[in-house]
C-alpha cells in the first residue's frame, strides 16, 4: 500500500467499480495488487487474449490469483456474486461481454456490500451499468521522455461518491508502486501529443 497513492485513485472498498479502455487490464492488475488479499479473476472460457502470468508478475504474485472460467455471462455473474458475498477473495475481477442491466449491477453491489470484497468489472466501451460505484477509463500513453514505458492515463468518468478527474500514472515494477505524474485533478493535454 503506497503512501502517496492519492485518495482519489483508491477504489472504494466493498463496492463494484468499472473500467474500460485499452489499459483496463493493467488497471485491474494494479488495483488487485493494492488489495493485498486473494484475487478471483472471472472470464468467459471462449474469450481470446488470456492473462499471461509472467506478465502479471510485474504487478502481483500469480499465486494470489484464482481463475474462474465460465460458459456464459450468467454464470460469470453468479460466480462473481457468490465470491463477493463470501468475501474470501479481497478483490474480484469480472470480465463482461454484454451490458449489465440495473438489476444485475445492483445485485453485485449488494453482494459486495454484504461480503466486504471489492469488485471490478472490465467492460467493453459504452457498456457501463448505472449501478457501478465508479467508472474509469484507462489507456496507455506514449512516454515522450523514455523512462520505463509504463505511463498511463486514468480518467474517472463516473463517480458516485467523489469528483471526476484524470491522472497520469506510472507503475514501478520493482517496488510494485504507483507514481502519479501529474497533480491530481489537473487535466493534462490530449493523450499522446507532445507538450
Amino acid at each position: 500500500m503506497s503512501p502517496d497513492f492519492p485518495p482519489a485513485l483508491l477504489l472504494r472498498a466493498a463496492r463494484v467499480h468499472e473500467v474500460y479502455g485499452p489499459g483496463a487490464t493493467s488497471f485491474a492488475a494494479i488495483m488487485a495488487a493494492r488489495s493485498g488479499g486473494d484475487i478471483l479473476w472471472i472470464s468467459a472460457a471462449w474469450q481470446s487474449g488470456a492473462l499471461h502470468p509472467p506478465g502479471l508478475r510485474g504487478f502481483l504474485d500469480p499465486a494470489r490469483l484464482l481463475l474462474a472460467r465460465t460458459q456464459s455471462q450468467t454464470d460469470s455473474l453468479a460466480v462473481a456474486e457468490e465470491a463477493l458475498r463470501d468475501g474470501g477473495p479481497a478483490f474480484v475481477v469480472l470480465e463482461i461481454t454484454r451490458p449489465l442491466d440495473l438489476r444485475e449491477g445492483r445485485r453485485l453491489q449488494l453482494a459486495a456490500k454484504a461480503g466486504g470484497a471489492t469488485g471490478l468489472c472490465l467492460i467493453p466501451e459504452g457498456m457501463g451499468s448505472n449501478a457501478a460505484e465508479s467508472r474509469w477509463h484507462a489507456a496507455p500513453v506514449l512516454d515522450q521522455g523514455g523512462g520505463d514505458s509504463t505511463l498511463m492515463r486514468w480518467e474517472v468518468t463516473k463517480n458516485k461518491s467523489g469528483t471526476i478527474g484524470a491522472w497520469h500514472v506510472r507503475w514501478d515494477e520493482q517496488a510494485r508502486h504507483l507514481h502519479v505524474v501529474s497533480p491530481a485533478g489537473e487535466r493534462p493535454g490530449p493523450a499522446g501529443l507532445p507538450g
Partner: protein, 475 residues
C-alpha cells in the same frame, strides 16, 4: 473351500446355458479354454485346450470370453458372505476361501453340520464346491483338492502339499508318491535336493509349523442411509435428513482420519425413482456444519415428486485428512474459507473450471505457465525472471510488414499504429523436441513496440520464414 469351476459357475449364474459351456481366454496367439463346466468336462474338454480343438470334440460347445478380474471380485464378495460362518475368512489362491472354524463350529451344531450347511448353500447358489476340513490350513487344502474319500492325510499324493508340478514329478520319480512316504524320508537330503520350500509345506500340512490365516481387512464403507416412515418433500426436511446423515458420516470419517472429497446423495422417491446430488469438494473435509450449506444448491434442484422416503449419503472419494490443531480464536482459516468458496463456485461452473497459474519450466511464452484446477493444486512460487512479458497473450495475429526491423507504421485490428520506440529483439528458438503447430515458422525475434497512439504491443518477426505478428499487449 475350493471352487473348482468358479469362473464358469459365475458366468452361468449370470446367464444360464444348457449343455457344454466354456470360458475362453486369449493366451499368446491362441484362444484357449479358461474354465469349463461339468457337461463340457464329461465331453472330454479340459482347461488349456485350444478352442478349435474343443469345438472339434464337442461341436455344440457354447463359449464366452473369460473375465478374470470379475471372478476375483466375485470371490471377494463370497469371502464377505462367508463371514456368516466364522469371523476368520481369508482368500486362498484365485479360486478358494479358507475359513478358520476353530471355536465357531459348535454354533452350527458341530463340524459335520456346518460343512453340510456350506454345501447346501453353495449348491443353492449354483457353485460347485469342494470342502476339506483339516487340523491345519495345509491339511484342509489337501483334503479339498485331493481327499475325495476318507483317506488319512498321509495317504494323499504329494501334489496335495501345494507343490509345483516340477517338484511333484521329481518326487514321484524318486518313489515318494504319498505324503506319508515323504514324512518318513530323511529330511536333510530332501532339503538339499529341493530347497526349504518342500519341507515347509510338509510341516505346515502336518502341523509342525504354524501357518497363520490372514483375513483381508474389511474396507471401511463410507455410506449411511436414512429410511423415513413417511415421505417428505420440503427442502427444509430434506436438509434436516441430510444433516443427520452428515453427522454420522463425519463421525466415521473422523475415526479414520480422513475427509470426503466427493459426496453422493441419493434420494429415493416413493415411486421408486431416485435422484442423485453430487457434491465435489475443493478440499477434503469432514465438518458436517461446513458441508451441509454446500448441499443447498444441489438439493434445491431436486424434484421430490410424491415424496422422498429414503436418503442415502455416500462418500465416493475419500482422502486422508490429519487432525489439525485449532487456534484459541477458533476462527475459520483463510484457506478453509477459500476452499469452501471454490466448492460453491465449482458446483455451479464445474470444479475443473476454477483454476490457478503454476510456473512451468519453458522459455516459450505460451508454455511458460500451467493452468491447473485450484482444487487439486497448491499455489507455487518460483517463476523465472524473464525480460518484460505482456499482460495479455493471444494467438499470433499477422500484420503486413517486411524487413527485420519493426515497421514504422502498421495496421492491427483495424487501427493504424505508428511505432515510436521499439525494444528488442529477444530471440526465442522453438523447442525442437516438442512438435508445436504454432512454431512452424521457426524461431522468433520478439520486439516490444510502443506506438504513438499509446498501445504497447509485443510483436515478433520470424526471420526463417519472413513475417510479422502481434502476439500480446502490455497493459
Amino acid at each position: 473351500m475350493w471352487f473348482p469351476r468358479l469362473a464358469s459357475d459365475r458366468a452361468l449364474r449370470a446367464c444360464p446355458v444348457d449343455g457344454a459351456f466354456a470360458l475362453v481366454a486369449r493366451q499368446g496367439n491362441a484362444e484357449r479354454l479358461y474354465c469349463v463346466n461339468e457337461a463340457a468336462e464329461r465331453a472330454g474338454l479340459d482347461r488349456g485346450m485350444g478352442l478349435a480343438d474343443a469345438r472339434a470334440f464337442c461341436p455344440e460347445l457354447i463359449s464366452r470370453p473369460a473375465r478374470p478380474e470379475q471372478d476375483a471380485r466375485f470371490l471377494v464378495a463370497l469371502r464377505r458372505w462367508a463371514l456368516r460362518w466364522c469371523p476368520w475368512v481369508g482368500l486362498e489362491g484365485p479360486d478358494g476361501l479358507v475359513l478358520d472354524i476353530t471355536g465357531a463350529a459348535h454354533l452350527w451344531g458341530g463340524e459335520a453340520a456346518m460343512l453340510a450347511d456350506m454345501r447346501a448353500r453353495m449348491a443353492a447358489m449354483g457353485l460347485s464346491l469342494r470342502l476339506g476340513a483339516g487340523e491345519t490350513r495345509g491339511a484342509a487344502w489337501a483334503y479339498a483338492h485331493y481327499g475325495e474319500g476318507k483317506q488319512p492325510l498321509l495317504a494323499l499324493p504329494v501334489a496335495a502339499l501345494r507343490l509345483d508340478a516340477q517338484t511333484c514329478t521329481a518326487l514321484e520319480r524318486m518313489g515318494l508318491r504319498r505324503i506319508g512316504d515323504l514324512a518318513g524320508a530323511a529330511r536333510a537330503p530332501l532339503a538339499r535336493r529341493f530347497g526349504p520350500g518342500l519341507l515347509i509345506r510338509l510341516d505346515q500340512a502336518l502341523g509342525r509349523m504354524p501357518e497363520p490365516l490372514a483375513p483381508a481387512p474389511e474396507p471401511v464403507h463410507y455410506g449411511v442411509r436414512l429410511s423415513l416412515p413417511e415421505p417428505i418433500g420440503l427442502l427444509g426436511d430434506v436438509m434436516a435428513g441430510t444433516e443427520r446423515l452428515l453427522g454420522a458420516l463425519c463421525t466415521k470419517l473422523r475415526a479414520q482420519d480422513s475427509g470426503a472429497r466427493r459426496l453422493m446423495l441419493t434420494l429415493r422417491r416413493v415411486d421408486q425413482g431416485s435422484q442423485q446430488v453430487e457434491l465435489r469438494l475443493a478440499a477434503p473435509m469432514r465438518d458436517a456444519a461446513r458441508i451441509l450449506p454446500l448441499f443447498e444448491r444441489g438439493l434445491a434442484e431436486v424434484d421430490a415428486g410424491f415424496g422422498i422416503d429414503q436418503i442415502r449419503l455416500e462418500a465416493t472419494l475419500v482422502e486422508p485428512l490429519a487432525t489439525q490443531q485449532l487456534g484459541l480464536g477458533a476462527a475459520p482459516q483463510q484457506g478453509d474459507r477459500l476452499s469452501d468458496l471454490i466448492t460453491r463456485i465449482g458446483t455451479r461452473i464445474g470444479l475443473e473450471n476454477v483454476l490457478r497459474f503454476l510456473p512451468a519450466d519453458s522459455h516459450i511464452p505460451e508454455r511458460s505457465f500451467l493452468i491447473a484446477p485450484a482444487a487439486h493444486s497448491t499455489p507455487e512460487t518460483g517463476w523465472h525472471s524473464t525480460p518484460p512479458r505482456p499482460l495479455r497473450l493471444f494467438a499470433p495475429e499477422p500484420i503486413a510488414a517486411n524487413g527485420s526491423a519493426p515497421p514504422a507504421r502498421f495496421r492491427w485490428r483495424r487501427m493504424i499504429l505508428h511505432t515510436a520506440r521499439a525494444t528488442g529483439p529477444e530471440r526465442i528458438a522453438p523447442e525442437w523436441w516438442l512438435e508445436d503447430e504454432g512454431w512452424r515458422h521457426g524461431m522468433r525475434d520478439y520486439w516490444r513496440v510502443e506506438t504513438r497512439q499509446g498501445r504497447r504491443l509485443w510483436l515478433f518477426h520470424t526471420p526463417q520464414n519472413p513475417g510479422w505478428f502481434v502476439q500480446g499487449e502490455f497493459a
